[in-house]
Amino acid sequence: MNNYKFADIYIGLEQAFNQKITADMMDHFLEISGDNNPLHTDSNYAKEKGFHDRVVYGLLSSSFYSTLVGVYLPGAYCILQGIDIQFSKPVFINDNLKIFGKVSYINDAYKQIEIKAFITNQENKKVSKAKIKVGVIDE
């Protein structure tokens, strides 16, 4: 886990990591969220709707934005204060995602940083993007 302190952070600082989506993750997300919409649970239904397989929950793939800030940027001293996500392409089981974030703004008075982040799949297509506000609690 990274542990950037507020003084270490600068505009343009970036971090990235990779994450594969598994069927097991889908099962766990269903158990936690109770979202049993067939688009996520039934391959045949998803195919009827024009997708090649069931669609991964948007909030499952975007949960890695939490990992981005909580583990990588800034890491240990993070407190997530806001996130605005836009989805652009579906994610499927076995997709290999890359989660990327870069510091875009620093509020010195309140020790808050803003991170522009996005997730790409194995074809380097952007599946979502996010603006994330994070407090840095290093004192």
């Binding site: 509020n107 309140y110 803003e114 506000k133």
Partner: protein, 80 residues
């Protein structure tokens, strides 16, 4: 930039952050007057104002402010 222009710009930011299109600010408006003006929204306000007006605030400057009018007055000085 005139005080009125700054005031109107700040009012637009308040309307956006508190999601109230008809919110009308007064110089005397403070956190007691807007229910959702909590600590996180306060940070959101300051960040939005810094970015929109391309100015920076120090924590000491902000803690001394008692209402919107005081904030606008400080912005007028910074934007001179």
């Amino acid at each position: 930039m005139t005080r009125e222009e700054i005031f109107n710009g700040v009012q637009d930011i308040f309307r956006d952050i508190f999601d109230e299109d008809d919110l009308v600010l007064q110089d005397s408006t403070n956190a007691d007057d807007i229910e959702e003006w909590d600590s996180l929204n306060h940070i959101n306000l300051v960040s939005a104002i810094e970015k929109e007006f391309k100015i920076r605030f120090a924590l000491g400057e902000l803690t001394a402010l008692k209402d919107v009018g005081a904030m606008i007055d400080m912005m007028v000085r910074k934007l001179k």
